[in-house]
């Protein structure tokens, strides 16, 4: 027989234990998340070092230069687009079309555009060649690391030396490994029953590079030499051909503004020519042996503007495009949800009759019962179509924002309504007795009183929206780039990708414990920190400004 005293203690222990367990599990999740994520930085530093040592950094500078030329090209492209549009309109006989030109004349401009791209291609071809050499060198560096590792392992395990007699020092000095050697070493480990180690060695059977069947080679010296032997010639040739092209270009513009824009574009090109020596010095000064500081590994994630994965060149893991994407859809969702949610709460709580209350409340709360994937499906099937009337892109941040607002409204409504309810009746009655109308009371007395609770409700709605995955994955357009805020309201019609969306999209394909896997965990860590911050501030505000009545 359990004494009532002991029973009490048991019950307390049971519930207390449950509470403790919840906190312990939360702690474990946090720990696990951070452990997986933080190892990312070490791997990132390694990647950055290989980026430099393999010559991929050199290739990226050439790439930057090519991209700058593409940027200038865009100015010319814009002009062609406007001219083509004017030409199309003149064909249809629209008002305001002045100069009538033939298709042939427009084509001279088109030919100019094509020739510009062809000259740009000289640099592109060189870039492709350097990328190929750098990719091979990367493979070489990775192989060298693995061979060193397994050599040390073999020494440690005291395995026989005959077929694997190369020393770790000798490995450091090698500039190539042949396919035969790697094959032999793989067999060595198989014979000694170290299958896992054998699998790390990749002899790449049957692959050729260039004329010989040699396997992995360090091409860093080739890349460095190509600066003098190829790069400088290409740039000179480009300059000559570009100048010739620009000078020999004769064409009568349809639109007056086109002529002005063309001069501006030529000016931009001349400015580019003046920065040429900057690229040259970056390439000349590239030193494959210099290490990156560890802080770069962190800033390239936190402030990185590119998230590129599965690239044949270099993977970049910068969280900024995803973070700004999440932020943009959250802001849009809140802009829509706050007036609707808070307004509805104020109305239902203060003004509506009890019949209206019993009608509106359950229906708003029903919205939160709709599965998010159904809402996402509604977005692609229906809302996207309506969106096409306003913007070029069907699936963009506005589409996702509207749907997320729909999901946030019930959260904000319920909590705001709750906090409005908690305002003591005495306040309301006192105000009414002083002659204020119901509306004045609601807005001037009750609302400010409940403000802390309402702000807290909004923050929780924000937390819900930032963590929503399915809707953004389906409806936000999935373009991984920082939205272009300089286009004013145009930013709403841009497709974005979000932190939650990228995790959902890429998690299925990452190799366990690879850098990509860890990068996704880091994105998860960022999400976790943001949610914690939001929840913490919501609790802080609710507590601090809650007056004791």
């Amino acid at each position: 027989m359990i004494k009532p005293d002991q029973k009490d203690r048991l019950i307390k222990a049971f519930f207390g234990g449950n509470a403790m367990m919840a906190i312990v599990i939360l702690g474990l999740i946090t720990l696990f998340l951070f452990k997986e994520g933080v190892e990312f930085f070490g791997q990132n530093k390694n990647e950055l070092d290989i980026f430099r040592q393999s010559g991929m950094e050199y290739a990226s500078v050439v790439s930057d230069q090519h991209n700058k030329q593409t940027f200038i090209f865009r100015y010319f492209e814009e002009i062609l687009a406007k001219e083509t549009e004017a030409y199309e309109q003149s064909l249809e006989g629209k008002a305001g079309s002045i100069v009538k030109i033939s298709k042939d004349e427009l084509n001279t401009f088109l030919e100019f555009i094509k020739s510009f791209q062809d000259i740009k291609d000289y640099l592109l071809l060189y870039e492709k060649k350097v990328v190929k050499l750098a990719a091979e060198t990367k493979q070489f560096l990775k192989t060298k690391e693995i061979v060193s590792e397994v050599r040390s392992y073999a020494t440690q395990k005291n395995l026989p030396r005959e077929d694997f007699s190369i020393t770790v020092e000798e490995i450091e000095y090698r500039s190539s490994f042949t396919h035969k050697e790697l094959d032999r070493w793989q067999n060595y480990f198989l014979r000694n029953e170290e299958e896992e180690i054998a699998l790390k060695i990749d002899p790449r059977p049957g692959e050729t590079f260039g004329e010989e069947k040699i396997n992995v080679i360090n091409y860093v010296s080739e890349i460095k030499n190509s600066y003098n032997s190829e790069y400088l010639d290409i740039v000179t040739r480009q300059n000559e051909d570009y100048s010739r092209l620009l000078e020999s270009f004769s064409y009568e513009f349809i639109l007056q503004e086109s002529e002005i824009s063309f001069e501006k574009a030529k000016l931009a090109f001349r400015e580019y020519v003046e920065t040429l020596d900057k690229y040259e010095s970056r390439l000349k000064e590239w030193d494959p042996q210099q290490d990156f500081p560890f802080s770069r590994a962190v800033t390239s994630f936190v402030l990185g503007k590119d998230w590129v994965t599965n690239s044949a060149r270099q993977d970049w893991f910068g969280v900024l495009p995803l973070f700004t994407g999440s932020l943009l859809v959250t802001v849009i969702a809140l802009l829509l949800a706050i007036p609707l949610g808070v307004g509805a709460a104020l109305y239902v709580n203060q003004i509506a009759s009890s019949r209206e209350q019993s009608f509106i409340k359950p229906w708003i709360e029903f919205i939160s019962a709709i599965p998010s994937v159904v809402i996402g499906f509604f977005g692609i099937a229906v809302l996207g179509g309506w969106m096409a009337a306003f913007s070029d892109e069907r699936l963009n941040s506005l589409t996702a924002g509207c749907l997320l607002a729909l999901m946030a409204v019930p959260t904000i409504f319920t909590l705001a309504e709750d906090s409005l309810n908690n305002v003591p009746r005495a306040f309301k009655e006192a105000s009414l007795s002083l002659g204020a109308t119901r509306w004045q009371t609601a807005v001037g007395v009750v609302f400010p009183c409940a403000l802390s609770g309402i702000v807290s409700a909004i923050l929780l709605g924000m937390g819900r929206v930032i963590g929503e995955t399915m809707v953004v994955l389906l409806c936000a357009g999935n373009r991984i780039a920082i939205p272009d805020f300089t286009s004013g309201f145009g930013v709403f019609s841009q497709p974005v990708h979000t932190m939650t969306g990228i995790i959902a999209q890429e998690m299925g394909e990452v190799e366990f414990e690879s850098i990509h896997y860890r990068a996704l965990f880091m994105v998860g860590v960022v999400l976790f920190l943001v949610s914690m911050l939001i929840n913490y501030s919501s609790q802080l505000i609710a507590k601090r400004y809650k007056s004791a009545y």
Binding site: T70, F73, R74, E77, E78, L80, A81, K82, E83, T84, E85, E88, L110, I113, K114, Q117, K120, K128, V131, D183, Q186, L190, E195, A198, L199, I201, D202, P203, R204, P205, G206, E207, D306, V308, T309, N310, S311, A312, R313, G384, G385, A388, D392, E393, R394, L395, G477, N478, R479, I480, A481, P495, H497, Q505, E506, G508, E509
Partner: protein, 267 residues
């Protein structure tokens, strides 16, 4: 032999010759084509059972290396790591190409353009060119739709059509062939790529690549550059019933089935 003994012999031999072929791998092959081939094969040889699991090319190749399947379907070529694994396990991966697939480049049917060169395709999908007027089309911003990074088609297109350059940052990554076809059909200035079987969707049309439409002939004559072989891998040269099944797939009847599914026959 006495008739009753003969009948007994026939019955017992057919009872004991129940054989099974385990096929695992690519969804492209395993969703419709291989099951149809299996069904036709079973109509001819009713004693054969098939076990087909289509969970992705990587799973098929891994299954051959592990010896848990007879045939590994793959819509891509072997990766270096897989060759290394095979070597380490004493498995020799033998490839039989059973069909060809072409990746068609699609645009909206209202777009007056009809053909593109490979250079123009590379320029469009890498973002070098952002307006249709630069490739001789109408004035309008190009909306590029691609698959996402987990797709074999994404990787194939990147390697062959973009010569391993990165996709443009303004491209939109969608989950499947159908979604790309839908978005291109709804966007006058859209462009994307899909497998041959999805060309029948409404509102889109395929463009000629270097003068060739994707079709049986242009794929087999190697004129259409974006074609890939659909492979069946086996451990060493196929033997026994696996050999018979693969020979059936390559026979006239089998290739008719390949074509009816929407892929391209191997000549």
């Amino acid at each position: 032999m006495k008739p009753s003994l003969l009948i007994l012999f026939i019955i017992s031999s057919s009872l004991f010759s129940q054989s099974k072929i385990v096929i695992k791998g690519s969804d492209t092959l395993g969703a419709k084509m291989i099951p149809k081939l299996a069904e036709a094969y079973q109509n001819k040889f009713p004693s054969t059972k098939f076990e087909i699991a289509a969970e992705g090319s990587s799973t098929g190749i891994a299954a051959i290396i592990d010896n848990t399947a007879d045939v590994g379907m793959s819509s891509r070529e072997l990766k270096g790591k897989e060759k290394a694994s095979a070597g380490a396990n004493g498995v020799f991966l033998f490839k039989t190409v059973v069909a060809s697939d072409a990746v068609a480049i699609i645009i909206n049917e209202d777009n007056p353009l009809n053909s593109l060169t490979s250079k123009e395709v590379e320029r469009i999908f890498t973002g070098d060119v952002s307006n249709w007027s630069s490739v001789g089309g109408p004035s309008g911003k190009i909306s590029v739709y691609t698959r996402n990074t987990s797709s074999g088609t994404y990787a194939f297109f990147q390697k062959v059509a973009l010569s391993s350059r990165d996709y443009g940052s303004s491209s939109q990554k969608l989950a499947g062939n159908e979604q790309i076809a839908t978005e291109v059909a709804k966007n006058k200035y859209g462009i994307g790529y899909v497998g041959l079987a999805y060309l029948k969707a409404k509102g889109i049309k395929a463009v000629k690549l270097n003068g060739f439409f994707p079709s049986n002939d242009s794929v087999n004559s190697n004129d259409y550059k974006l074609s890939r072989g659909l492979n069946c891998f086996t451990n060493g040269k196929p033997s026994g019933i696996t050999k018979k099944f693969l020979e059936f797939s390559l026979s006239l009847e089998g290739q008719e089935i390949v074509e009816s599914t929407g892929f391209v026959k191997i000549r």
